[in-house]
């Protein structure tokens, strides 16, 4: 499974991105990601989830591309419009990206 994750926007607007291959992750980490992907119904989400009206300012924007076997999907989501079911996956990927920065 390949995952591309990118975050832009926010007050500091410093891009954060990571490319992951499940082969390079621990078995436990890969299992947890798969679980979060399923719980989010990731492959059935629309391609773009925008912020609602009057959503404020300085929110993050995320881009995600996941390829798992013959399943593949890309998603753009604004933090202000994020479904709760997607939140654990985004938080997990954000932590992985932040920990691997540098």
């Amino acid at each position: 499974m390949q995952i591309y994750f990118e975050r832009s926007g926010g007050f500091a607007a410093i891009r954060l991105a990571v490319d992951l291959d499940s082969e390079d992750l621990s078995v436990e980490e890969a299992r947890k990601l798969r679980e979060e992907i399923e719980e989010a119904g990731f492959f059935h989400l629309p391609a773009v989830i925008s912020a609602p009206q009057a959503a404020g300012a300085d929110r993050f924007q995320y881009r995600l591309r996941i390829k798992d076997g013959d399943r593949e999907h890309s998603l753009e989501v604004n933090e202000a419009g994020m479904p709760d079911s997607l939140r654990p996956l985004i938080e997990h990927l954000t932590l992985l990206a932040r920990s691997r920065r540098g």
Binding site: S8, G9, G10, F11, A12, A13, I14, R15, A54, A55, G56, A57, D58, R59, F60, Q61, A80, R87, E91, T94, L95, R98, S99, R101, G102
Partner: protein
Amino acid sequence: MSHRACSTHSLLQPQRCPLHCILPPYMLRNIAERGTAEQQAKALRSLQVTDDLHEKRRAIAKGVEPSQARAVGEKQRLVYDAEFGFSLPGRLVRSEGGAPTGDPAADEAYDGAGETYDLYRQVYERNSIDGQGLQLISTVHYQRGYDNAFWNGQQMVYGDGDEDLPESMRLFNRFTIAVDIIGHELTHGVTQYEANLNYSYQSGALNESMSDVFGSLVKQRQRSQTAAEADWIIGEGLFTPNVNGVGIRSMKEPGTAYNDPVLGRDPQPGHMNDYVNTPNDNGGVHINSGIPNRAFVITALELGGYAWEKAGRIWYVTLRDKLRSNSNFNDAARLTFETAGELYGVGSLEQQAVRMGWLEVGIEIDGGGGSENPGCLPALLNLFRPQAGGRK
């Protein structure tokens, strides 16, 4: 003043005054800006009476006398703790007048909201985010490892940066650490209630720039710094010592705030020649804001003294009265120039400073000092000048 005859009527027996309470305020504002001198004067009177009536109606709705309504419309801060979750607003930890909590994030959010309120109230005579004393709600300790601060349409929210990572890996401190970040977030609220600039591309970059401008003015006023003394850095102290940078943005020299092997380089342009076209960051709203930011700094440096007094007033009045949700950089240049003419006189040094500010970032303002649309102030002045002829 000549509107006295109409403003003394009681709510129960409204006196009939032409225009009053019939046209919606936005239409009156249009007339006040674009009508003949007589129409402008009438529209202005109506706007004043309408504002008066609105206040009385609000007071009646609350069951209190207008004088009391004013009294409660003062600074009203509430600080909450999200306890590292994402539910807002969280648990209340400090309200207006309450003792310090001892938690730096909560106390900085409280103090910074107060400094920002004071700038708007004491300098620009604005009562809070909505101009009507709206409560200033802040939440701190939002999520874990949350390296951001935002305005969600109703309140300010602050993360703790990289508190969840080992110290050697941390890049961000808590987001309440710099008062200009607090001023920045609160100003997003002001913008929402005024120009309501669309949060994408140029209008979004103007929205961002307004937040940096007034955020920086909060900091400068707190430190009693003139435009020349100010560092014009946004987010000073937000980076940990692991980062090679002085802050998140430099309003004076966009693109120079940080240059770091991990974070990369500050991407802000300071001139239209370097405008960045990107779909990221809502069309580069935090990137291209460097251009109007620098126009403001140059204007303020040209004028000298405290930047919040003249440059800040020109920008504030433009944000409040002139910019629209789809305004772009050219509109902002033209309208700040127009406002400077109204506040300080056509052809004044102030107006020339505004022209210079925008010119330095590659935006030329058409016209030689006059303006096609003289706006409200000349009409207001006409009220006191009986001989002054109307505009043809």
